[in-house]
Subunit: 337 residues, 2 copies
């Protein structure tokens, strides 16, 4: 039974299930599903939930990198799919693919897909460590952060889909790695499992004092997943020539009046760089990325924490939990329970 998450209305703040998005089921006849030349029919196995999806739930008149959803459209995301019918000689029935799909159980699509059957990792890793979030960590850290051995990096949302990869890659490059998250169990995991040099719960700490304590020599790179107040405090702790990798601002996506950043004069005082990016601008490097990451995985140098939600009907709630930081690691929906 194909099931989808439908976009119903533009949310003002946090989306409300039933009002702004809804789970629906439809009938589909796989046997007689019409495929034009070049098309394939895939059955989605896993669906990735990522914060950027919220940014597409906006008034379409507001221009941005990613197009806005249209009312009534099926929400989309990165998925792991298996080919069930093919009218394209490059795609074989039974192969697993990593691609961008509508949040359907079954999609008739001709899309840029990456065959993953040949890799020895769990398929869902292609939604996180080896997928868009991992690539985001890789591109942001290397191309914007330009890390140098001995430097200090601070990562917010450090156990998120992107943050945990940034932290581990930075450790491998010889950086001092500090992270923040919003839950003590996450802090414990960052310290004990991922061997961060320090981590703190931003909800229960004085952020400024914690950064003073954990980054006594200042911060060289801030990998920013949240924006808002933490960014404002971090600006005061950045060293000369510091870099802010602007990856996400989950703290403000759901607020009409965002927090006002007051310390931006530090950009001039300390010759800082703040840069936003979009991972898809760098897809020409995806093979290099998968090769490098694959080797690190084989050598046991990369862990990846996933928060696997079972059943596509639970996707809307899991999405909301992610926006409020209740997930523990990368959020993946296993479409069939």
């Amino acid at each position: 039974m194909p099931s989808s998450i439908i976009y119903k209305a533009i949310p003002d703040g946090y989306p409300i299930i039933g009002e702004h998005m809804e789970f629906v089921t439809r009938e589909i006849d796989i046997e007689n599903f019409p495929l034009v030349d070049g098309e394939i029919l895939v059955k989605n196995q896993y669906l990735s939930l990522d914060p950027y999806i919220r940014s597409k739930m906006r008034n379409p008149e507001i221009k941005a990198n990613l197009s806005a959803y249209k009312i009534g459209e099926v929400l989309d995301g990165y998925g792991i799919s298996i080919v069930v019918k093919s009218n394209n000689k490059n795609y074989q029935v039974g192969d697993y693919y990593y691609t961008h799909v509508p949040a359907n159980a079954v999609s008739g699509i001709e899309c840029l897909a990456k065959e993953i059957s040949k890799y020895k990792v769990h398929e869902s890793y292609f939604l996180g460590l080896l997928g868009m979030p991992g690539m985001t960590a890789y591109v942001g850290l290397n191309k914007i952060g330009k890390p140098v051995k001995g430097e200090t990096i601070f990562i917010s949302s450090a156990l998120g889909a992107v943050g945990q990869v940034v932290g581990q890659l930075a450790k491998i490059k010889g950086l001092r790695v500090i992270g923040s998250a919003g839950d003590d169990s996450k802090i414990k995991y960052l310290n004990e499992e991922l061997n961060f040099d320090g981590a703190f719960n931003y909800k229960t700490c004085n952020i400024d004092e914690k950064l003073k304590e954990l980054c006594p020599n200042g911060i060289d790179i801030y990998f920013d997943n949240v924006g808002g107040e933490i960014l404002d405090v971090v600006l005061n702790h950045l060293n000369n020539n510091g870099r802010v990798v602007s990856c996400g601002m989950i703290s403000i996506y759901n607020f009409k009046t965002p927090y006002g950043i007051k310390n931006l004069f530090q950009v001039i005082k300390k010759r800082l760089l703040i840069q936003g990016f979009i991972t898809s601008d760098h897809y020409q490097e995806i093979d290099l990325f998968i090769k490098e990451m694959g080797e690190l995985i084989e050598q046991g140098k990369l862990k990846y924490k996933e928060d696997i939600v079972k059943g596509i009907q639970n996707a809307p709630e899991a999405f909301l939990n992610m926006l409020t930081g209740k997930n523990f690691g990368k959020v993946v929906v296993k479409i069939f329970k």
Copy 2:
């Protein structure tokens, strides 16, 4: 009679003459002035007043690129000086030099100086068009702005020491050039004398509407000399991959609680770059800069508006006027009336 501007106390807001800085005179015996080996004695002819001077009037515990002034110290700045006594074979009596000097009428200094006697422009140009502000415009526009023919640049404080150079260099490179300033006579000058493609008085306009009208295809480069509210509005008008050259934030230097920037999420939405810089990091290119600019001046392609204040005793008031935007062009103090 050597005269100096002395730094007396850390100002909270705008410096107050007599309280935070003071004009004093001292006796100096030029004939018997002791010069150690390598030193020269120079008589300063022109002094440059620049906004960065305000940023040095701070609590020395606050670290930044430029060191803070000590209480009782003579304020310093870029100057045009004539050598009156030399104990250094590289510096001849009578030569004009462009260098960084204490705001004295006479200084005994061994410093990195650039001989300017051989150039055919007015000496004071070495404080503006061919000096630190011109170099700031050149470096900021080319190295951070990376202008491309056909793009649109918006410049705040567009008739300031830096802004007017940026605008003209951008016109030469084939950009559409829009500027703002705080006075209708400046707007007239930008439009009529510097041939900007548009200019507006930010004090009497709706900035958002004016940018919509004058930059119908959005802004590719924002050369930011003021920070604060204008930056916030501009963020909404920047195109994808837009660049913000963070050159100055004169709007906030004198305020304890700066304006909070609310639109920073545009950095992610549009893959923006915001970058601060310090001109002295790029001094290895000063000869190339002077050559390129010199040629443009010879070809009549660059104008430069100076606001020349006569008498060093008038420097404190001129400095204040610059901070509040009352100057008309680059502020230069002719030390002797």
